[in-house]
């Protein structure tokens, strides 16, 4: 981008001098033609006025003709040649001025001193004013004055038309010439002033055009710079090659002598040269590593502000003191490379021309772009590294997934086998229970009959044994029934028989059955409920079994205590429930015991069955039934402080789709 700093004033002077020179040259050429024309005209004039001189009957060419040819040639041709060969020179103008006056003298001679011919002198002076150089009038006027002075002294009649004249009369004639000169000088001065005004206007116009062109060129170059940097930043793969292309773009588009880019190393204390374009391209020179805060580059990094300076004020540290002068470098600009106020590096440019404000803005934008580009490259590298790690992790995960899939398949097979085994077990249990109940019922019935017969026959000793048989049979039948119910639930064959019943009536009927069970350990049973509890939609048999199991359990683990059944309606999340709470003052349980109390075949501890009896299936069935009916059961207990079982069943009894294989939660 060419750059010329031309002031309007100096350009106006240059144009003015050019105009003057052009005018002088044009006028010289004009006079060259005029002089030639004068020569020819003089000859023709002589041939017309006095072609021949006679001596009697003999004639010869008149001396005036020869004078017009020879003397006219001498007077005219030399200045005419100067006008052609050396136009524009002051000596040429002076010679032409003198020649015009000499030609005037010759013409006056040739015309016999006619007064009209004297107008040639005045015309010539006016013509000489075409030069707009009043100095030309000086030699011409001197020639006229000298001619009049000399001839006035020797032959006044030839110039003044009188026989006797004063020897100072030439001054009068010279004064008339000077009189004309005054006007011509004024004309020349005014013409020069107008010419200077024209030059100034033209210079101003040129300056404006040049400024606009410069701005357009700058804009074009800056657009190219932005494009080149953008391409380098987006297409470059290697960070160092990318920065080198950016530096080369700075040199190319900013008339730069040297452009360099440093990046801050990991320690944040050292700038490392990454790219260098222009007169020095080596990256291992004296400025390959610059500490932050040292040299102009380091100061830019330290203060994080741009630095603009004359090139000779910034030591390029290139071991070459005359480098900037020799390369025509005049300006230096350095910019910090910042991303979100984080220093990435420094960009510097030495240029052969001053940096205009628009160029400074463009360089700041380029610095920002380069900073972002560097940061992006770093992020890409990190991303690539992480992607590689991720790929490896993905591979491992894929292997694990395959392994897991195999395990899941294996698990499914196992689950299917387990389910099949469970079904087989349930079927077996159901089948076995059914098969066992028949003889058991027979045993119980016959033991009861035998007891009656023994009582009738007075065989009191056998009654006790028969009672034990009957009791064992009933316990076994109870156990079988529980196992059968549990098997049905686990096999998904347990169904509900939902009906609408009055809760209070159900409680009252239940107490008839439960009271003996509760009170056998000298316990007190109390019921607390509202008289009008209303009805509920549920499986009445299973509801009764749930409450009977809980009351039976409470009576079993409580001696000389109190057992309370609290019944109330409640609403949870917009739904209505019936809460049955069985509270006892029995032995209570530990936290660990409560956590597994609802599991099948599980009691508080291993001694419980031995000490208190029971199958260990009662609470498991309670839990399964509650879930089957869309309710829940919870227990609160502490060792020695009794227990409180709370059953919640939906009032409407429509929530049935519950997985009953899971035990109830402990509250």
């Amino acid at each position: 981008m060419p750059y010329t700093a031309v002031t309007t004033g100096s350009r106006a002077t240059e144009l003015f001098e050019q105009y003057q020179s052009d005018l002088h040259q044009r006028t010289d050429r004009l006079f060259a033609g005029l002089l030639g024309f004068q020569w020819i005209a003089g000859i023709l004039f002589a041939l017309w006025i006095s072609p021949l001189a006679w001596s009697g009957a003999v004639s010869r060419t008149h001396v005036h003709v020869w004078a017009a040819i020879v003397l006219g040639g001498i007077i005219n041709l030399f200045p005419a040649a100067l006008g052609v060969l050396r136009p524009g020179r002051l000596s040429t103008r002076f010679t032409i001025g003198v020649a015009q006056m000499l030609m005037g003298a010759l013409l006056i001679h040739l015309t016999g001193g006619r007064i009209e011919t004297h107008f040639h002198v005045f015309g010539s002076l006016a013509f000489l004013a075409f030069y707009r150089d009043w100095r030309v009038l000086i030699p011409a006027t001197i020639v006229v004055a000298l001619d009049h002075m000399v001839r006035g002294f020797f032959w006044p009649q030839s110039v003044y038309g009188v026989f006797v004249a004063s020897q100072w009369r030439w001054l009068e004639h010279a004064a008339w010439v000077i009189f004309e000169d005054v006007f011509l000088v004024m004309s020349c001065v005014r013409g020069l002033a107008e010419m200077r005004q024209t030059a100034e206007r033209t210079a101003a116009l040129e300056q404006e055009v040049r400024t606009r062109q410069q701005a357009e060129n700058d804009a074009r170059e800056l657009a190219s710079l932005a494009s080149a940097v953008g391409l380098a930043l987006t297409r470059g793969t290697d960070p160092r090659a990318m920065l080198q292309q950016c530096a080369e773009a700075l040199v190319e588009h900013l008339d730069g002598g040297l452009a360099r880019i440093w990046t801050l190393n990991d320690s944040d204390r050292m700038l490392e040269l990454q790219a260098s374009a222009g007169t020095h391209t080596a990256l291992d020179g004296p400025q390959a590593k610059v500490p932050v805060g040292v040299l102009p580059v380091g100061m830019i990094a330290l203060h994080r502000t741009p630095l603009l300076a004359r090139a000779d004020q910034v030591d390029p540290h290139l071991d070459d003191a005359g480098w900037a002068r020799r390369e025509g470098i005049v300006a230096f600009a350095g910019y910090p490379l910042l991303v979100d106020s984080k220093l990435i590096g420094v960009m510097t440019t030495f240029s052969r021309r001053e940096f205009s404000p628009s160029v400074q803005d463009a360089m700041a934008a380029v610095a920002d772009s380069i900073a972002v580009g560097i940061e992006r490259k770093r992020a890409e590298a990190e991303l690539k590294s992480r992607a590689k790690d991720l790929e490896e992790a993905h591979e491992i995960q894929r292997a694990n997934a395959q392994q897991l899939s195999g395990l899941v398949d294996q698990l499914r097979i196992t689950q299917r086998q387990a389910e099949a085994a469970t079904r087989a077990k349930s079927d077996f249990l159901a089948s076995m229970s059914h098969e066992l109940r028949t003889p058991l019922n027979a045993i119980i019935l016959y033991s009861e009959l035998l007891q009656e017969e023994a009582a009738d026959q007075g065989q009191q000793g056998s009654i006790s044994d028969l009672q034990k048989i009957q009791s064992a049979g009933k316990h076994l039948l109870e156990l079988i029934n529980d196992i059968l119910d549990l098997s049905k639930i686990e096999a998904g064959k347990m169904s509900l028989s939902v009906e609408t019943f009055d809760i209070k009536t159900m409680i009252d009927e239940l107490l008839d059955t439960a009271a003996p069970l509760v009170q056998k350990n000298n316990n007190r049973l109390s019921v607390r409920c509202h008289e009008s509890l209303g009805t509920m939609d549920a499986d009445l048999t299973k509801t009764r079994q749930i409450l009977l199991n809980l009351l039976s359990n409470a009576g079993k683990f409580t001696r000389d205590g109190a057992i309370t059944l609290d019944v109330r309606q409640m609403a949870v999340a917009g739904r209505s429930y019936v809460e049955f709470a069985v509270t006892d003052t029995g032995v209570g349980m530990t936290q660990a015991q409560t956590e597994k109390i609802f599991e099948a075949f599980t009691q508080a501890d291993v001694t419980t069955t031995r000490k208190y009896g029971g199958t260990g299936l009662g609470l498991a069935l309670v839990s399964r039934f509650c879930q089957l009916m869309g309710g829940s059961v919870a227990v609160e207990s502490r060792p020695g402080e009794g227990a409180r079982f709370v059953v919640c069943l939906p009032l409407s009894g429509h929530e049935r789709a519950i997985d009953v294989t899971e035990p109830a939660r402990v509250a």
Partner: protein, 195 residues
Amino acid sequence: MNKYWFGAVAIVWLGLAAVGLAGLWQYDNAPGEAANAPSAWPSHTHLTRATHAPTLVMLAHPQCTCTRASLGELEELLARTEVRPKTYVVFLKPATFGEGWEHTDLWRTAKRLPNVSVVRDDDGVEARSFGAATSGQTLLYDQAGALQFSGGITGSRAHAGDNAGRQSLLALLDGGRPARSGTNVFGCPLFTSGR
């Protein structure tokens, strides 16, 4: 072009121009052969002398361009003088030239002058009678036929303007005293040398 070379050429140029102009000046101021005019009106002339007024005779070459100035001065003279002389302008006609050779613009100019008689001088008879040798030779005889003035009435060759000849003739015609009774004649020779 070297500055010194130019200076030298310019000086030579100025010198040549000055010499040329001086030579031309010299030529213009070189008088012709003076007349050997008879002190009394010649007896064998065909011209008639006036007895009640002076008689002015100008002998001229019809092809001489220098004589145009002499005719101009004659017109000036006749216009200024209070005493009108009997005036002849005698144009030479050599025998070698045919009829009408003498009818030049000078002839026509002279013919237009008032009270001027234009006479053809075949083969220079009249010129010889008056002893004239140069075109423009002007002679003034008084009423008695005595020669009062003999010379030219131009200051130089073909140069119009104030001159001693015209002033002297004016003085003589107006009864004054002339500064000079004879002046140089500037014009073409009336006769070929050696003839």
